[in-house]
Symmetry: C2
Subunit: 216 residues, 2 copies
């Protein structure tokens, strides 16, 4: 059995998975000798952003095909993820998590989950298998766990208010830490919601993966 499924949402923080967070997740898992398999939805990205200009690009890209860049080609469609084959799941952040895994980026507290994300995330939740949500990905937690689930996106008040409106209990958290809800074995960390430098994101993601390792 592979230990951990990692769900990517593209490749690049403005329209896909945050690259540093994704790589730091894989590094932390490997450092703990936890094996992993990357997955992503096989569908068009919500949009494509020119990361040099910070402006929309008139292009169409596929979430899975772009995420494959981070996974060095070793990636599978999220529709093929069998929750019984993994011990835990991790969702790195980036706008892709809020654009391609759900529509929080445009719908806020009225967001809905991508159907495959909903299927797999709820399966890990109901089985009591550990799950980690990084950066903006914790915006999805209230749609997956019972009301009052504890999570963090750091300290941004507007985003925290949206999570509270959806029924989560938001807990403010510094960049180098993580917030766990022991009842549901779900852990979250702010990463680039707060990080000013990559070593800060690494510290928080390290704590998140450590928590998952402790639960396994």
């Amino acid at each position: 059995m592979t230990d951990v499924a990692v769900v990517l949402s593209g490749c690049g923080f403005l329209d896909g998975a945050e690259i540093h967070e994704s790589v730091l997740t894989l590094l932390a898992l490997d450092t703990h000798n936890l094996s992993y398999q990357c997955y992503a939805p096989d569908k068009p990205q919500m949009d494509v952003v020119n990361h040099a200009a910070g402006e929309p690009a008139d292009e169409s890209r596929n979430v899975l095909v772009e995420a494959a860049r981070i996974a060095r080609g070793n990636i599978r469609p999220l529709s093929e993820l069998d929750p019984d084959s993994y011990r835990a799941i991790v969702f790195p952040g980036g706008y892709g998590a809020a654009k391609n895994l759900c529509n929080f980026a445009v719908a806020g507290a009225d967001m809905v989950l991508d159907p495959q994300v909903e299927r797999v995330a709820k399966a890990f939740a109901t089985r009591g298998k550990p799950a980690g949500y990084i950066c903006i990905a914790p915006a999805m937690i209230s749609r997956i766990y019972p009301q009052g689930v504890r999570c963090t996106i750091g300290t941004d008040e507007g985003t925290a208010a949206a999570l509270t409106a959806m029924g989560a209990e938001h807990v403010a958290c510094p960049v180098d830490d993580a917030v766990s809800d022991e009842r549901y074995k779900v852990v979250s960390t702010p990463a680039y919601m707060l990080a000013q430098r990559i070593s800060e994101a690494s510290a928080g993601i390290g704590k998140l993966i450590q928590q998952i390792a402790d639960w396994l």
Copy 2:
């Protein structure tokens, strides 16, 4: 003064910069409290590869625009790199280094450097400022330093023979180590020329950045 210039060659190991190597480089620099600025050539990629299928894609992408994904938007055109403004330079690998920074991927030992790469790399060399070349990027070293410069791409005999044909002294090196030429302050490490897992690439890149820090 920013400490280190990092030259990226796109975003994705089959047509651009190897993402893990690039992120691990930034992490190691930041962990050493070395500040960095990313650069990339502002020109079309040699090609675009679908990383899920491992096959060519009928698309055109710009090296700088794609590399900006790794740099979280904080990137400048390589033509603007002033070697007097930095203490050291690092080139992560990936096929992009052999396709977009030079043409080693298609020309082998007959390769030529991108003019801007040649300008900046030679400037650091002639000034005696430390330089790090990762994965396949050391294929460029013989075009920048005097004959007999010591470097490594790991243990691949065909690639090593090409480097020797170009006048370098190739030194076999395990994945978790790096090869230094103290005369020229240039260091190289195999990374994904050999790495089977990300923690192996991290170990070698960590040694490379440690060597650069020791030289500074």
